[in-house]
């Protein structure tokens, strides 16, 4: 195309080139002409078939039909020329409530790429407050309480690998009469909170099979057999994310070391009429059940393996000292 460097304003340039290019652009959009002369008219949508899904997503999508036909999507670099829609009758814009952009262009919403609504796995959260500290706009608020860790008495091959008593940490002792009463306590009709079945104390030292602890409520010290003591620590009770302040920067997702913070693909449903509507509590930050289950299992397995390694290392160290001792 002859490109005149510093084009001089002359009659030829007055209208010929602009008129020609707008005509070409218009002809490209006609359903039949555009298709036949696309290449010559500059449609140029090369139909290269790049990879859309990484292995993880493809494995996960193996079952569902929808995700599979995403793979067969004809990729057009520019929306205009992908013939996903009949061109004459259909408006060009995606009709939002009826059509979704993630159906039209699934490669934009590959899981893990898009910073959408925040999804939290509250079960695996260990209340370490890393996310609360990293958030630039201070949108995360968390309330924690001293509790016996539910996950510790998990069954299956990860059983028994929960936390261990440590000096300086907390421990809990069951209150037998409350345990008996709890069986008959009807949570639904009772107007008061259920009585506390654990009594918490701080572990001072773990000499033999007895441990000296200082009760949290009364403060005086006592000696209790370690077998009765259950390890306890701060567990998260309620958390809230103020999406009114959040800028979706994703730092909380990176700061969380326990894969319990996700940013899902969802971009809608985060609106409200008052600022309170924008406070997302546990119920509104759910993640898809499949993802939730995978994350919990992965987290449990990770903790279990870490615990096994720790115990193995401790055992090996003890063995080494024993060997050194008697050598």
């Amino acid at each position: 195309m002859p490109m005149h460097p510093h084009a001089q304003p002359n009659f030829r340039n007055l209208f010929w080139y602009p008129f020609k290019i707008t005509l070409i652009t218009a002809l490209r959009t006609f359903p039949f002409i555009g298709k036949r002369f696309g290449k010559r008219l500059g449609a140029y949508h090369n139909t290269s078939h790049p990879e859309f899904l990484d292995d993880g997503s493809r494995a996960r999508a193996a079952s569902s039909a929808v995700m599979n036909d995403i793979g067969r999507q004809e990729f057009a670099p520019d929306r205009v020329t992908s013939d996903l829609k009949p061109t004459l009758w259909k408006p060009q814009t995606v009709q939002y409530p009826y059509e979704r952009l993630e159906d039209m262009e699934p490669w934009l919403f590959v899981p893990g790429n898009y910073n959408g609504r925040i999804g939290v796995i509250w079960e695996t959260c260990t209340a370490c407050k890393m996310c609360v500290n990293i958030c630039p706009n201070d949108c995360l608020h968390m309330t924690t309480e001293l509790r016996v860790d539910v996950l510790d008495n998990a069954e299956g091959e990860n059983a028994g690998l929960g936390m261990e008593l440590e000096v300086g940490k907390f421990a809990a002792v069951e209150v037998p009469e409350v345990v008996a009463e709890l069986d008959s306590f009807n949570h639904v009709t009772a107007h008061t909170a259920p009585p506390e079945e654990w009594r918490f104390a701080e572990v001072l030292d773990l000499s033999g099979d007895n441990a000296t602890v200082r009760w949290n409520d009364s403060g005086e010290e006592a000696m209790i057999a370690t077998s009765e003591l259950y390890p306890a620590d701060d567990q998260i009770v309620s958390g809230r994310i103020d999406l009114g302040r959040c800028m979706f920067c994703g730092l909380c997702m990176e700061a969380c070391g326990f894969t319990s913070f996700f940013m899902t693909n969802e971009y809608d449903g985060m609106s409200g009429f008052t600022r309170q509507d924008l406070w997302f509590d546990a119920s509104r930050t759910r993640v898809l059940p499949g993802v939730h289950q995978e994350a919990v299992d992965a987290e449990l397995a990770k903790r279990a393996s870490k615990e096994r390694d720790k115990r193995a290392r401790k055992a090996a160290k003890a063995a080494a000292e024993a060997a050194k001792g008697d050598a």
Partner: protein
């Protein structure tokens, strides 16, 4: 005719953002101008003093909201200078690709706004259509379309997703034909030439003295570019040339030269991305896990007392600079003082003065050709 002050006020199609240009007009000719900035001053420099180094990146994205990636990169280079961190080669290549992709999107936003300023309404829709392609690419990298929070001190947050390279090549190749179409539409249209040539003259030395930088100064005929003058990243290993224009008159660069420079810069960005994606160490289709040492180096979070960091970066609109004095609240996690130099904060008053003598209808032509972005101006 009586001279009168017209306020091309904060809310005006010409301003491309929130600032006021009061113009004293004698009939149609501009006699005097007065620029008024500061409408969206958010005090990023003050907020940065209470945040640690990773938390500041999202704020730097929001400095110039049209080219967020380049501004976040600019800040991160300063933080890396302060914390003495070496970035792995692959991360530098990804940052280069992301920055050039953002430069394209930003130049398209400029052209899309500049067209209707001069009267050609079709440009807005064409440019937005093409900008969508590059916003999709950046969304795959950073996770959202405008503010990505993508670079980290020591590398990048996340590696290129699978298939990103193929999609990038497909889109850039299509866009190169689209630039030919823009040039067919504009370069040769007499009305476009008559409105831009001979309007808004600015000499090279006058601009340098006034602190103008970037494409505006390359339009005056010198290929000065921060990417080679104060080198950073891997611009020397990638195939590109600074786009430079030959001004037509001794009075310096006019609006047409600035328009030509930006069109050529778009071509150079395409060329750079196509070359970088082939040369990227670690292969273009591999995908490393987040935090892998190929894309993110180990970086300290505290700055030694009295250390300073400085970065000089070629943003889409000019040379953006960050100056950080480390050792904040005794623990060094926060910067003691973060100073941001915005190219447009100094260019806008200069342009306001160059408008004197031209017609009222030339104000959008001249102002638009310098591509003002008010987010970075007011910080």
């Amino acid at each position: 005719m009586a001279q009168m002050w017209i306020t091309m006020g904060p809310q005006h199609p010409m301003t491309h953002g929130l600032w006021t240009l009061r113009v004293k007009v004698d009939g149609e000719t501009v006699v005097d101008t007065d620029a008024e900035l500061g409408y969206i001053h958010r005090g990023v420099e003050k907020i940065a003093e209470a945040r640690d180094f990773t938390q500041i990146t999202p704020y730097c994205d929001r400095l110039c909201y049209v080219s967020a990636m380049t501004w976040a990169n600019s800040y991160i280079y300063a933080a890396e200078d302060l914390l003495e961190v070496e970035v792995p080669e692959r991360a530098e290549y990804i940052r280069l690709i992301a920055a050039e992709c953002q430069r394209l999107a930003s130049h398209l936003m400029w052209l899309g706004a500049y067209g209707p300023d001069i009267g050609s309404l079709t440009l807005m829709t064409w440019c937005m259509r093409d900008r969508e392609m590059f916003l999709d690419l950046l969304q795959e990298l950073g996770g959202s379309r405008m503010h990505y929070n993508y670079p980290r001190v020591g590398g990048v947050k996340r590696d290129m997703p699978v298939g990103f390279a193929d999609r990038l090549v497909a889109k850039v190749k299509l866009f190169e034909h689209r630039i030919d179409e823009y040039e067919m539409m504009l370069d040769e249209s007499t009305i476009w030439l008559v409105r831009l040539q001979g309007v808004g003259y600015a000499k090279a030395e006058e601009m340098v003295n006034a602190g103008v930088s970037g494409p505006n100064i390359r339009a005056a005929g010198v290929n000065y570019d921060v990417r080679w003058a104060h080198p950073y990243s891997v611009y020397d290993q990638v195939d590109w040339e600074p786009a430079v224009e030959k001004p037509t008159s001794v009075k310096g660069a006019d609006c047409y030269d600035r328009y030509r420079v930006r069109m050529e810069e778009m071509r150079q960005s395409c060329r750079m991305m196509l070359d970088a994606i082939e040369k990227i160490p670690g292969g273009k289709n591999t995908n490393y896990a987040n935090g892998d040492e190929m894309i993110l180096a180990k970086a300290p979070t505290r700055a030694p007392e009295g250390a300073t960091g400085f970065s000089h970066y070629e943003c889409t609109r000019g040379a953006s600079q960050f100056y950080i004095q480390g050792g904040g609240d005794g623990r060094g996690k926060n910067p003691y003082r973060l100073s941001i130099r915005s190219p447009m904060f100094i260019t806008i008053p200069f342009v306001a003065k160059t408008m004197i003598g031209y017609k009222v209808a030339d104000i959008p032509a001249i102002m638009g050709s310098f591509d003002p972005c008010i987010g970075e101006t007011d910080r």
